[in-house]
Symmetry: D2
Amino acid sequence: MNSIRFPEGKTLDFVAVGRLCIDLNANEINRPMEDTVTFTKYVGGSPANICIGMARLGLKIGFVGKVADDQMGRFIVRYLEREGIGTDNVVTDRTGAVTGLAFTEIKSPTDCSILMYRDNAADLLLTAAEVREEVVAGAKLLLISGTALAKSPSREAVFQSLEYARRHGAVIAFDLDYRPYTWASEEETAAYYNLAAEKCDIVIGTREEFDMMERFEANTGHDDRVTAAKWFDYRAQIVIIKHGKDGSIAYAKDGSSHRAKSFKANVVKTFGAGDSYAAGFLYGLMQQWPIARSMEYGSAAAAIVVSSHSCSDAMPTKEQVDEFIRMSNAASPN
Amino acid sequence: MNSIRFPEGKTLDFVAVGRLCIDLNANEINRPMEDTVTFTKYVGGSPANICIGMARLGLKIGFVGKVADDQMGRFIVRYLEREGIGTDNVVTDRTGAVTGLAFTEIKSPTDCSILMYRDNAADLLLTAAEVREEVVAGAKLLLISGTALAKSPSREAVFQSLEYARRHGAVIAFDLDYRPYTWASEEETAAYYNLAAEKCDIVIGTREEFDMMERFEANTGHDDRVTAAKWFDYRAQIVIIKHGKDGSIAYAKDGSSHRAKSFKANVVKTFGAGDSYAAGFLYGLMQQWPIARSMEYGSAAAAIVVSSHSCSDAMPTKEQVDEFIRMSNAASPN
Amino acid sequence: MNSIRFPEGKTLDFVAVGRLCIDLNANEINRPMEDTVTFTKYVGGSPANICIGMARLGLKIGFVGKVADDQMGRFIVRYLEREGIGTDNVVTDRTGAVTGLAFTEIKSPTDCSILMYRDNAADLLLTAAEVREEVVAGAKLLLISGTALAKSPSREAVFQSLEYARRHGAVIAFDLDYRPYTWASEEETAAYYNLAAEKCDIVIGTREEFDMMERFEANTGHDDRVTAAKWFDYRAQIVIIKHGKDGSIAYAKDGSSHRAKSFKANVVKTFGAGDSYAAGFLYGLMQQWPIARSMEYGSAAAAIVVSSHSCSDAMPTKEQVDEFIRMSNAASPN
Amino acid sequence: MNSIRFPEGKTLDFVAVGRLCIDLNANEINRPMEDTVTFTKYVGGSPANICIGMARLGLKIGFVGKVADDQMGRFIVRYLEREGIGTDNVVTDRTGAVTGLAFTEIKSPTDCSILMYRDNAADLLLTAAEVREEVVAGAKLLLISGTALAKSPSREAVFQSLEYARRHGAVIAFDLDYRPYTWASEEETAAYYNLAAEKCDIVIGTREEFDMMERFEANTGHDDRVTAAKWFDYRAQIVIIKHGKDGSIAYAKDGSSHRAKSFKANVVKTFGAGDSYAAGFLYGLMQQWPIARSMEYGSAAAAIVVSSHSCSDAMPTKEQVDEFIRMSNAASPN
């Protein structure tokens, strides 16, 4: 049991709004990108990855987004459709925008970086008028992702989605997913992250992301509890603050706090850990599991993804997560 | 008595954030601007006008804004200082921006128009970091003006001001003051007007301005009562909807509604009517007068301004407004 | 006699391409603009002033340019038409651009400055396709002005005009008229000024303007003769280098050089001196007068304009210039 | 023998200025890009390919360009250096620009297309001041490429290079290489292509590229001879007009014209044909071969490249071209 009440009588479990892009993962790993020669193409973007993850876990999913009118855009839509994700509200740009790209570089399992192409990206051109109220109205849970706030008109599309979710009673989750590219300044980022977070039931981010949001505030000790408490004054019910390899902590409005169990993994790269964690965690909440169990489920999904070469393509099924947890617990009973 | 409780122990009555610009009023009136030859220079911009109006009525005022590093910018700062308005938080741009201009054309008392110069205007370059918390913290009443939401970084500066006002208990008034120039689209306008209005105690605008804010809503009958009710679900206590020469109506959160008495005036032009009305009305509220009396006071100030050639320069003193009301009531006792 | 051969059988004497804008001259002179209150509106822009000057001297003139779709733009077109200048190729912008403004400040006769409004100026939106070949083809003399090179698409319109002039045998004059506003960098300016000057028969500019064009060259001594010689390797026949109050010097391709006689004037301000000089000088050349006499005629026109409050409006007629020269020579026979 | 006289006493044979980018060639060929999964990374960009081609043929080469400060940029510089191409004047961007990308799609040997990423590309940020005069001064032959004219400041850098080449007596070749991306309009393209072509000794382009340059001219019959004749009025000595699979024709200033022999090839894709042709042709001219033999050498190089998967990497050595010609002539003696 957890305190989040998802609305009844909806046609979809989950709708995400935001970035749809392409990951180009270097096939040759454990070396700098200067020395890699071939790349494999995957669907990417944090909200896309989370949707794919939740679809693999068996939920009914829809996407609100925009793709380029090119081969990359069509590849993305086909992939989502093959995963059973509704693309009715995935709009095609007609202005000549391109698909955002992320070239990944894996120097070592712990030294990974991304080379982003975000100029004139189609996903940032989604307009408020293109968000279809009935799509958001049909969802139990709406996920917004911080990168979609980086520019107009996508920024307004996110706020319009939030308004529709409020109007129709959807639970709202905010995955901060802050990427400095495309933002004009940290001040600008802080402004819109705060305006959006005020309207959300669940806020998930790293300590650094919350610090960025607090740049005009007095939380100089970077105290997680202070960070979480601010949002309980608005609409939040759960705030999760991630501390990288030190794990994450969830605060609930009832005053409780929860730490996630972490799993041993044979790490190939760190990309995708956050997205698979979010997918597993939100899945758990929607099963009405307690927060701690939901976090554990997210951690297990993350452990599976970081052991693989891709993000989206590696998202596990329910059976895979359950089996992983069973095996892990058998190996190290505590 | 009205329902607004202004905080105690503040050093300023009123702080406005937003546009500071120059009006160039044609000296030759009742003809198109193609046939006018000389112009007189005045300080302009809706929040500047309201501040000047309230300063003339005897209140302690401060301004948060940005001016160009040129002769026009220095003229504005000197004028405000001569009126006793605090300019500690009027920042000077260093990027080569210009001062916004408004050339006024008075074809007839009822056919007036404005030719705006708003490209690269200094006032829209105010940043969130340039808003000084202690200035907003020191005010009983903060006024924000819609034009300052038209572009980044001024838009973020407004939201930062709202956050400081909330933090320090200031009453917040929002003068919608919608000008299509500089906005990318009406959708964008609607998004930020709604986000700002949610955080305000008093919202003042024309029917057309509220229609623009409701473009994604179902108020197809343009019903003032529906419009006002929406904001009472957020923080609003008073919503005023102006209907041009048909007068204005104020709704209060307690369910009451109030119509303003209007005064006969020897109209030269319509410019400045809204700003002088706002100055008089807010002044009244701060005296703890009832809403209706405050509205009447605003109407009297407006009647004085529309009888004159300028906006800012014609703002009346308390003695002038009182005398005007006395004379008007003597002339037409009702 | 001079070496320039103007083509026969043309319908117009002179066509200029470039800036059309508004001057707003402070009525209160000998003080900073912070202390001026009223302004008088005139047509402005260097090529516009030169056209008006040459029309007053009795030549047949056409203009190639673009104006804003507003009261200022209509004022400009009407003014040109009243002066008898052909406006068939003055296009009206339909994108919402504004009319460029120049507020003049006269602190003293020798301390004058200009506050420019050039953002989103209509004149810089003239396209190559809007330049009508038959208008340029009909002229004996084409004048281009450096400010029109400052931005695309106006920059391409200038080069297209140069191509039409070359194709139809018009003499081409280039008034450098360099204004730093709107140029991205001095390097960019140098690039296009040089490309344009290569195609011109007459080049007129200040020493500082030629220095800017030579930033990638070795003329470290700022030697006028070196400057002029460069252009004789291209198409130039006359190069005039102006040295402010030290007068100007003209170099001709035949190796001769000429200094202008200067006239005593009761100087009100320095604005407009260059434009009236150019008008008088080009007028003289078109009468087949020797270079020195043409320069003297330009100097006389300039002396008249600097004694007056405006630029365009003060351009003298032939009778006025002749009378001025007669009176000046009578006063100081040399 | 041909009519081009290359200067003596230079340290480099050839310097190119312009685009350096990355090709990402789909490994899975003969299918749409929606169905390709892996890509191989190569150095790309027309002038880069030509330089690599000429370096393989044994010439001394330098490059004037700009790369992004990222893994892609460093990969490009290293590749050039391994090929023996001088990178002293390859500047590294410090503004966060990216490396231009070209994803190639090979649906069939005759149906190939390219998906370009050109927003915020580093190569277009080369400035005139970054072009080192001594590098251009040291070359017998300068090549400019049309894509570098697409935007400021790269456009000005090209004109500055042309000026240095003129000053120091280098022969100048212009590979039109028109790509619609990044140009604001065809009018803008025509303007700068014409200004550049006026200054070149050798102009190489397709019929469609010359048509674009003639949009303000009367060559309605698209007559190659008319096209070529125009440039002989300026500085051109050779003009080559390419007609795709119908071959190409070269016109020389002496009135002669020459058609290239074409070779049978086992075509994998058409990319790179033009670049390898240009490399072989210019190589031939520099050997003082007759135009026809130089064209044949270019055709042979092109036949080798279109039979391979890449462009830059497949550029043949002198031995490979000689052998290819020998084998082809043996197979089909004519």
